[in-house]
Amino acid sequence: MNVIFQSTYYTLYQAANERCFYIDFGQKTVRMSLCQLLALRHKLMSINIEDHFDSDLNAHGFEVLMLCNKEHLFVLNTLEILDLQRLVYNSFVSLGLAVGAMETVTS
């Protein structure tokens, strides 16, 4: 497997022989097709991160993410969401499917 991009908490791999990708979330590794990676990207784009700083809109600063047609469920905090966004956006750049990379948002 080849590393496509590594962020602070996560790593995206390409498994050429299986024609798929893997994201290492730390506590578990999730297998994904490109379509599922696109779906994850869409979910991440739909998150309004500013809501995390308004207790009326997001009281606890968590997001529930269901991936791969509800096969996996993750509860991520603000920093983890920002880091996952960075991983996914930059991975698409590394894969040659996007042009604009995302700056580092977590350290």
């Binding site: 050429a16 990708f21 696109l38 779906a39 869409h42 698409f92 499917l97 996007a98 604009g100």
Partner: protein, 172 residues
């Protein structure tokens, strides 16, 4: 290293995002024209209602064209949420003026995607949008012609009835 990503998808994700935005815009236009058809029916402009029913269908066809393009290129088309449709118009002139405004907005949006696709070197998206660029010229021209006809006819006396009858000329 095998390029699995490129083998699975033939356009840039930035273009895909903009095209998903366009899908939403076309869906919104379709719903807006349906609201206009409803207004025309309720206010006795039956020919104009037919015109807007047809426009609503056309906008949905445009939406599906983009949706299918994203399917064909391995993208992730998103079914749009449509909210905030205006149902209130002060007159038939207001209806057609709003239509022109809407079409100009759609044209600008299409041009913006063409520009971005060109910057990204996304030739497939750029070429795909050629049809939309030409279609928008036709759409804008139709509404401009109707507004010219309204100006010539005038809205006094039987003018409104004549306007509604004349709209038939723009229904294929």
């Amino acid at each position: 290293m095998k390029d699995i990503a490129r083998q699975s998808m033939s356009i840039k994700v930035e273009s895909m995002d903009l095209l998903n935005g366009q899908i939403k815009m076309e869906a919104h236009a379709s719903a807006t024209y349906l609201a206009m058809a409803s207004w025309c029916e309720q206010n006795g402009f039956f020919t104009s209602a037919k015109f807007f029913f047809k426009q609503a269908e056309e906008e949905r066809e445009h939406m599906m064209k983009i949706f299918n393009f994203l399917v064909d290129t391995g993208g992730n088309p998103i079914s749009p949420e449509v909210t905030g449709i205006n149902h209130d118009y002060s007159s038939i002139v207001d209806v057609f003026e709003s239509t022109l405004e809407h079409e100009v907005k759609v044209t600008k949006s299409i041009h913006n995607i063409v520009k971005k696709a060109r910057e990204l070197g996304d030739f497939a998206t750029e070429r795909f949008l050629d049809w939309f660029v030409m279609e928008q010229i036709e759409e804008e021209n139709t509404v401009r012609d109707i507004l010219d006809m309204i100006e010539v006819t005038g809205t006094e006396g039987v003018g409104l009835q004549m306007i509604d009858n004349k709209v038939l000329d723009w229904i294929d």
